[in-house]
Symmetry: C3
Subunit: 140 residues, 3 copies
Amino acid sequence: MVEKKGVTILLHSGDLDKALAAFIVATGAAAKGIPTTMFFTFWGLNVIQQNGAKSAKLSKMNMAGIGTRMIKRLMKKKHVASLEELIKDAGELGVRLVACEMTMDLMNIPRESLLPEIKEIGGVGTFLDAAQNSDTHFVF
Amino acid sequence: MVEKKGVTILLHSGDLDKALAAFIVATGAAAKGIPTTMFFTFWGLNVIQQNGAKSAKLSKMNMAGIGTRMIKRLMKKKHVASLEELIKDAGELGVRLVACEMTMDLMNIPRESLLPEIKEIGGVGTFLDAAQNSDTHFVF
Amino acid sequence: MVEKKGVTILLHSGDLDKALAAFIVATGAAAKGIPTTMFFTFWGLNVIQQNGAKSAKLSKMNMAGIGTRMIKRLMKKKHVASLEELIKDAGELGVRLVACEMTMDLMNIPRESLLPEIKEIGGVGTFLDAAQNSDTHFVF
């Protein structure tokens, strides 16, 4: 077993399924004590804005007959954490959550619209520094 | 040249092109003797179910006028392995193929519906352990 | 701070936003002196063909009311480099740009159609060698 330096996750997508996967991996890593950073860019910014997590949709409308509403109902029934809960968990577990400065500037997203869990705004340099200090990287 | 600890691939998508890329990289790595793990989650589960590989479609309908049926014909003509063949190759090359427990539970996918090459079912902990013991990670 | 061996980026998508993210990360890494390789496969090949970067579209049509034309106008106004400029920058910064041989063969893409910045054509073995000599990997 090797000592792990850290996990860096780039969330580029605003799709519910991609965001869920990113946060499940991030909270799982943080719960194991691995330093974890998430960087939100392009459509990924939608997810961390007020009401953004709630309105995220599946990337595929109707795979196997399962739509966004049905998957949320299933997740609840099976006691799988919702995206809103996962974002709170990430904050509590100390996942470093960074919003992309360029995207915010480009799409005129004000800092106030971000969820309180997001304590940092940074550019590609910030992202690459985090990545350089990690040894495990995922793009969703 | 550094000694490689391993490759871990997360297949989140059920698109034919993403699945092909994931399996081409996985079988390529395994053929080089690199310990390789693939973890199938969300739509990626579709690909490793009976008849799932056969019915996978391109992520873009008609890029450059090429659709799913045409690309399969082209692949055959150019002797590129099909997705079904690549999955078999992965099994034979000893790629560790793990199906996501949470997705199976959520979508009511029975173990019997999985291809025989899939010998393991695991959660985010299993995935992160594999990732921690690898030094190269790809998400498709 | 750890010494970085290198960054390897796989661009599988032809979407404008994914391609922008890939090139922003690649040029950012190269500007920091990190050896950086980009490998273009499937729809990613479109981006590095003549006029391909210009005609790339957003993956989501109208997220937050912003379409392809509007985002390009915004990028210009905010002095964010265009995809065409980023590709040139990547070439000048010494990013190693490799086109996927299998995709070119499959889609009948002639070498002459590639941008002059693309100096190399390679297969999955080339990609895996680059990945093995890097410690940071991103798939877009």
